[in-house]
Chain length 506, copies 2
């Protein structure tokens, strides 16, 4: 029986196995319509999303429970992500769910209103963390850490208006990888993009594209187009909407709402509608206006180097220089990136989902310095995987295929066809547990045999050991393969070894 | 190189390996005092607990970050716990960090004041979860689940006065296993105790004892001793203190603070100072007063059956019937239990720690019904592992032995002795990553060889691949074993296969 995805080296194939299941391994198709199935214990009692009633038993708005089926899927996804982070030498780190309120203020720009505060119950003022980046920067500053490559998988909380159908929640997981430290330019940045490619490939989500740009290039464009510096932030947030609304609408917002001169907006439009590969970087170097701006030139120089390294990593064709990329968060200072899935579902029968970005990140060289009493800077670059959106895609795919997922890892079921065999069953199962074998039995003094066997078929348990009067007399145990329904008698003292042999073979 | 503890079947030996390290595998002892060590990247920059300054960069009171070293230890512990839960057929479940405030009210008795509330920012009134049991009961009622065996590992939050030295925090992990459903008596209850034994044995924390009793027996004692029913709760919470203060002090509290007649207190004293095995259960059955109480008889009958099953499971000698056991929480209705470590440190040089209980649980047959609109009951029994206290013990042990723990899983370091080899290093490392090999390099255009090799020794990386002019010319790569310092030249095209061979052998 396969170890379900807990071995890092196998993670890729295991997730592949989940998405395209080998028969009988991870997924059990619902092939039986037996009347006794209803008797089986624990089966199909889980309905993750209940219709809302007037009664107030519910999870808070924008949050959800993860059912056992969903937990299995989430664990598979996290396993692919964390395996990749470890493959790149990252260390784990955990921070509290809440921070001092002042740690989070002035880090998220317009989004600060979405932070959950805790009630003042005496003592410190606290807020739930909004991302994993600010706690990481706080950790670095607090412990005077100058260099660190860390990953962090944890929940974050945002009081957004939930549009749950798109996989947006108020409580969700982030999977972050960051490299802190002063290094030669663009080597860590290129590794972050390589990691994004490895994870998105490893999850088999179909084709994807990583848009890349640099905050300094966008600022340079604004400067050479004649945007007053006081309007940089406002215009940046308009540009940020280009993946959702058309240039016409963005231009309208710039001119009418934000008071930009129409000819300035048009000049911006010429730039931000461009995207391409390394050749676009070269083209921008030759641009008569942009090449006069020092900041933009620095950004372009770094991007050129970045593309060189991405080519060596074999992922340059997945990356597009996109001048419309702005990224919402305040703390970015250099290269920024965002991965989007290209909307061709792998299988024709799947409904397309509008998923937005599934991973993003960038360079933030100033954030740690904001926490340091003397303002010492620690340059950082990192990425965050939007695992909830990926989860929605995988979940929908499983639903489309009607796959049933094993929610337990039980290997052996201890059964009896006779009454008054509880004592023998308990002795036997303790022996299996003590040998490290995953085993279950029915919590009944006198269960009937058929429901016990049906439970195994429903739950995908591969082996059954059966003990009865005959077996007890002969000093044997019957070992039954659930799939083939073959039974053999095994000497009691050889049972554990035989089971371990069978499990290692399958 | 061993897969660090992520394979369930190996969890026990891996944790054993952590506590008593095989040379060079999980732990790298600090055997080198080389002057160049300081040059090595990433090494020893982590100081988990910083001295407090006037500056407010800190974690909230009663919370902490977990450093990479601590994360490794915690993951090992959780792995032992979760492997055991899965061995017993449990499914995973996750619930939100916060619940509607009303879900949590009237569940925790006197402790309700310790619940963290969220600020009213418009919308629902929310509280951080206080344990994993109430959210589980809410989940069962909300989804009308009648049977379920689930585990849940997650953080919970309590506004306690932190005494951090004993491993008590305001944010901490709980590891819960529960069985919901109507079954034949004491079979699931016995499995819960078996699980506690397996986990505590598997963690190698020294000897332990599980105290067991039944809420109905304690209530029966109060009744037959003449405690007015209105005082049951108050007297119960006095009895609960018997593991911390003497009977004399508890009696004083009962009589002076809680107004109990002295002779009633003395009668209680005769009972609650008793503890023993199955023979004490038999003795209580014969007790002239207690045997007149229906509730107590039910409890004693169940305990008798429980001990019978525990004997079949081979763990009866770890369990003691202890009439002083009361358990604080309101929701218990039947058997209750609590595991304590017996304070003989495994090694003489360790300082003893006062750890209190490290695991506890019991039967709560009424909690789910509190959430069901029609009051339908789902009987439950479960246990919770106090992983923070266990963590403190293991951490102290590691400190005592001066062990250094590997915080990354990196298998190969890509090095060069020459300038201008960044391009070749990047191409090479991408090849390793793409083959699933955990690899790192220095983020420098022209690093010196010695710091690269020292980094590997410090971080416990077993293999180095070295590329230079000579190797490039000959189409080979040098493969170096860090431990033996032996180097061999490998044909470039065979490198990945050779590395995989070496890693699978070690």
């Amino acid at each position: 029986m396969p170890q379900l995805g807990l071995l890092p080296g196998r993670a890729w194939t295991v997730l592949l196995g989940l998405l395209r299941p080998p028969p009988g391994a991870l997924c059990i198709r619902a092939v039986r319509s037996h009347s006794q199935v209803a008797e089986a214990l624990f089966a199909s009692q889980l309905k993750p999303h209940q219709e809302k009633s007037n009664f107030t038993i519910k999870t808070p708005k924008g949050t959800r429970d993860l059912s056992p089926q969903q937990m299995v899927v989430r664990e598979k996804i996290l396993d692919v992500v964390v395996s990749c982070f470890k493959r790149h030498g990252a260390k784990g780190l955990d921070t509290p769910a809440f921070e001092l309120k002042e740690i989070l203020t002035e880090k998220y720009g317009e989004d600060s209103g979405l932070i959950y505060d805790l009630k003042d119950q005496g003592g410190e003022l606290l807020s739930l963390r909004y991302d994993l980046t600010v706690p990481f920067a706080r950790y670095l500053a607090m412990n005077k850490v100058k260099k660190m490559k860390r990953y962090h998988v944890g929940k974050v909380w945002r009081r957004e208006s939930p549009t749950i159908v798109q996989g947006r929640y108020r409580e969700f997981y982030q999977c972050d990888f960051d490299i802190a430290g002063q290094f030669d330019p663009m080597i860590p940045d290129a590794e972050c993009l390589k990691i994004m490619c490895e994870i998105l490939s490893g999850l088999h989500l179909g084709d994807f594209l990583i848009k890349v740009s640099d905050r300094r290039i966008l600022d340079g464009i604004f400067a050479v187009c004649g945007v007053p510096e006081s309007k940089f932030h406002a215009i940046c947030s308009s540009v940020d909407k280009l993946d959702k609304i058309s240039w016409k609408d963005v231009r309208h917002e710039m001119v009418v709402k934000k008071g930009l001169a129409p000819e300035v907006a048009d000049r911006i439009g010429d730039y931000v509608q461009c995207h391409g590969g390394i050749s676009l970087v070269e083209q921008m170097f030759q641009d008569p206006r942009l090449s006069q701006n020092k900041q933009a030139l620095e950004g372009l120089g770094d991007l050129k180097l970045l593309f060189e390294y991405l080519t060596l990593f074999g992922v340059a064709e997945k990356v597009s220089f996109d001048l419309s990329l702005a990224r919402g968060l305040d703390y970015y200072t250099g290269v920024i990136y965002e991965a989007v899935l290209l909307q061709t579902p792998v299988h024709a029968e799947e409904e397309p989902l509008n998923m937005g970005s599934v991973a993003a990140g960038g360079r933030y060289d100033g954030l740690v310095g904001m926490f340091d009493p003397r303002g010492h800077k620690v340059p950082c670059v990192g990425l965050s995987i939007g695992v909830e959106r990926i989860f929605s895609i995988v979940e929908q795919r499983i639903k489309t295929f009607g796959e049933k997922i094993r929610t337990t890892e039980t290997q052996v079921f201890v059964a009896t066809p006779q009454k008054n065999f509880l004592q023998e069953r308990l002795k036997l199962i303790a022996e299996l547990w003590d040998a490290g074998i995953k085993a279950e039995l029915m919590y009944k003094n006198n269960p009937k045999l058929l429901p016990q066997l049906h439970y195994c078929e429903n739950m995908g348990i591969p082996l059954v050991v059966i003990i009865g009067e005959q077996e007890l007399k002969e000093g044997v145990i019957k070992l039954r393969s659930v799939a083939s329904r073959e039974e053999v008698a095994i000497k009691r003292e050889n049972l554990v070894a035989e089971i371990q042999k069978r499990l290692s073979e399958s």
